[in-house]
Point group: C2
Chain length 205, copies 2
DNA sequence: ATGTATACGTACCGACCGGTAACATTGTCA
DNA sequence: TGACAATGTTACCGGTCGGTACGTATACAT
């Protein structure tokens, strides 16, 4: 599989004005459009038009639209764990506070009129086929999220860490979805409070 | 808006062999395909082919594909509240048991390899535009679900009924989504247990 | 200056999208 | 038998889909 054609193999861009790299512009535009309006809803023509490039440029950097969608999600994955790790780093050694910080942030992000939820979740809904490149990335992201939540539930001292970890995952996914369903004033604003109640009820006495 | 062309306005079908009604076959096939594979993923050609009818027949009964999708969701809505009311009727006067029965059922339904979640939720993810006919139906269904859950939380005697109702909604949506993300053995199997823990932690002492 | 490699643009492909026009066929009831 | 409504048949529309063949421009090394 010679798919070495991806992003930024160039040197180090030492001095001024390196060529803006068509592939990067394409991925940036695709990221925005795929996330906001859905992958199936966006055609490659619109992507190249908004990126100011042409279609062959897209297909020189990405083997197919499906693979471009997978690249979008790989980028999303990176930024997702950045946000997660920020909440963790802000509360060292206190998994319960880490969760609370992460969920408070999610709860806030959902409180805008056009919130679009989680790009990973949305992609999985759009592509039920488990072998689709985008879905493969999405499922891996969710498996990792589950793993981390269960580990943190164990670190909190939960009676049944796997159940608590999964409960937190359900609340998080519920926040992503109901955030885009209800918009402002929706149920997602209470995700941190509900999570804390669930944690309290799940700890060893 | 003369959209009186829908389903079954015919008399009572007293005796044998009423014409099988193309509109019903179309809606049945569309229901199955839209739900299992997504609305955007299915073209009208495939629907009419699988239904054994022709395209003009579809457009005589439904003004557009978008409206057919909305009709699919209206049918989904009917069956959704049937299932909900079953769980309610099975536990008269006991809202906590009603919730538990409903969530136990959801948890079980998610435990198959190709579970596809909630048709309402999926449609909202596919159509971010709030004015889309399918999304209008979806949002109405979720508003009603929220209303009922909050009312039941109040009937349980929760300290903060709106927060508990919303927490249950988050768990339910999380179960729908993680059911299709993880399949067998996923977090959705614990939705009833987590809901019961959350309820326990939310009641007046 | 010239070769070479890489990045880009023009123009095009067949297939499918949702949707329609015009007409033939059928079954049902009066 | 005749009239009506529902369905089927065939052919078609413009637009968009994802994807590509092929020629051109630019940059750099020699």
């Amino acid at each position: 599989m010679p798919s070495d054609k991806n992003i930024e193999p160039t040197i180090s861009d030492g001095h001024a004005s390196a060529p803006p790299k068509a592939a990067k512009k394409i991925l940036d535009v695709a990221y925005d459009l795929f996330y906001r309006r859905g992958i199936r809803a966006i055609g490659v023509d619109e992507i190249v038009k908004r990126a100011g490039v042409t279609k062959p440029s897209l297909y020189r950097s990405f083997p197919s639209k499906d693979e471009l969608a997978a690249s979008y999600l790989r980028q999303y994955d990176l930024e997702y764990w950045e946000r997660f790790d920020e909440a963790v780093a802000a509360n060292p050694g206190d998994p319960r506070a880490q969760i609370k910080a992460f969920l408070t942030r999610i709860g806030k992000r959902t409180q805008v009129a056009d919130y679009r939820g989680c790009g990973m979740t949305n992609a999985a809904v759009e592509y039920p086929d488990h072998s689709h490149p985008a879905r493969v990335v999405s499922e891996a992201n969710k498996q990792e999220l589950r793993r981390r939540l269960r580990a943190m539930a164990a670190a909190m001292g939960a009676l049944d860490p796997d159940t608590l970890g999964d409960g937190l995952l359900l609340l998080i996914e519920g926040a992503y979805i109901s955030g885009q369903l209800f918009g402002l004033g929706g149920p997602a604003q209470s995700v941190a409070r509900n999570a804390d109640l669930l944690i309290e009820a799940s700890l060893k006495k």
